[in-house]
């Protein structure tokens, strides 16, 4: 089937199988930040944005993205590196496999909720599983990153 979509603002047209999962397509096109974890819609590793909303690329059929914009971590390099530094400072990750999906969702949360409470942060990120850590490092990193961003925004 013919498909036309934008990945990180770059127009892509292709001919794909009707049941192509979005995750498969993105990896075939070289967007390797998009990880395959559980493949049962549980872990959040495959998170990308569809029209700015975080979704699971293992779940959304690629055809649903026809005419739409997908954003992957590759399209958010600067912000991802900025938040990634907070993760590193807090020693928040071990293998790092969950990071891309987690970062995509943290950056979505930042846009979605102004000044989230601790409870809101935990709720928003509850669909991002990490098999190595106990989440406390990530939580500290998110809080410090958001505080840093608030400071930056205030000074702008």
């Amino acid at each position: 089937m013919e498909i036309k979509l934008w990945i990180n603002d770059k127009l892509i047209t292709d001919n794909v199988e009707p049941d192509m999962p979005m995750l498969e397509f993105l990896r075939e096109k070289g967007f390797y930040s998009v990880k395959r974890g559980c493949e049962t819609s549980n872990c959040g590793l495959c998170t990308v944005w569809l029209e700015g909303k975080p979704v699971l690329s293992c779940t959304v059929p690629l055809m649903r993205a026809d005419g739409k914009h997908i954003t992957t971590l590759e399209g958010l390099q600067k912000e991802a590196a900025e938040f990634g530094a907070f993760l590193a400072d807090e020693g928040a990750d071990q293998c790092g496999f969950c990071n891309p999906g987690f970062i995509m969702n943290v950056l979505a949360m930042e846009r979605d909720i102004d000044d989230p409470t601790d409870e809101e942060i935990k709720e928003y990120l509850s669909g991002n599983l990490c098999r190595c850590t106990g989440y406390t490092g990530q939580f500290r990193a998110v809080k410090k990153y958001l505080a840093h961003k608030r400071g930056v925004n205030k000074n702008e």
Partner: protein, 259 residues
């Protein structure tokens, strides 16, 4: 993984309905559940371009299109005000934000899953399933109907003045619930739903007179449902939890009870 020979965006409900009459074809909602089925479909019928992704509200009712995703319901100010955030409470434990941005209320209600938080909350409200051919069916009747090849177009919620509250019990956050409980009190009636028993949510309706003794109401109502065991909990455990959940959920409604 979803497997199909053809993927069609239906241009009308009639076209979707006609295509859906073939046993080898299937309607796709958010693909959360469908993709877990090990089956090669002939045609997957996508109804996402038919404007069914809107929540309409007027003085009498809400009409929630079948393709509305769970997170849009969760964020809807009118629905949250009407349900005192009970609807939000019922949805927020389902997997995670990204998942609820994908899956639809149509797929959730059509599925009538035993574990469904979604069915458990809608069934206590004055709500209806709007079917393309089958017309408007009260939710508690729809919950019992066998699966057929109709299309769920929308969920209608009448704004009956109700105090609604919701609780679920999970062994682990974001897992399927061990038990769900929704309560609606209004017009001298109390309706309690218990779901994930693990069979699908069912309701009991009594006069609010029964609330003069909450302990007895919770115990009698919990006992009136049937429970089974599965990997998450035993039948006995579920029955015990049910009594506690009913009591707690009633307390959340903040309706003054007792003598």
């Amino acid at each position: 993984m979803l497997r199909c020979n053809k993927y069609i965006f239906a241009e009308s409900l009639e076209e979707a309905y006609e295509l859906n009459q073939k046993k080898n074809n299937v309607i796709i909602g958010g693909n959360g559940w469908l993709r877990l089925r090990k089956r090669q479909w002939g045609t997957v019928i996508d109804i996402s371009r038919l404007g069914l992704d809107k929540i309409e509200e007027d003085a009498e009712q809400f009409r929630i299109g079948a393709m509305v995703c769970l997170s849009d319901i969760e964020k809807h100010k009118g629905l949250n005000a009407y349900t005192h955030n009970a609807l939000k409470e019922s949805l927020k434990h389902i997997v995670g934000t990204q998942f609820r941005n994908c899956v639809t209320v149509g797929g959730s209600i059509y599925g009538r899953f035993g574990f469904s938080d979604v069915l458990s909350i809608f069934i206590v409200m004055d709500s209806y399933a709007e079917l393309y051919k089958g017309g408007i069916v009260p939710m508690y009747e729809f919950a019992k109907m066998p699966y057929d090849r109709d299309i769920l177009v929308s969920i209608i919620v009448k704004k009956k003045p109700l105090h609604i509250a919701y609780s679920s019990f999970r062994n682990q956050s974001t897992d399927f619930p061990v038990l769900t409980c929704a309560v609606a009190v209004g017009e001298n009636k109390i309706t309690t739903a218990i779901g994930a028993r693990p069979s699908r949510a069912d309701i009991r309706t009594d006069s609010t007179e029964a609330l003069k003794d909450i302990e007895k109401y919770a115990s009698d109502t919990a006992k009136s449902f049937d429970y089974q065991s599965n990997m998450r909990a035993s039948a006995e455990y579920r029955e015990h939890i049910a009594e506690v959940l009913i009591k707690r959920t009633l307390e959340k409604t903040e309706v003054p009870y007792g003598n």
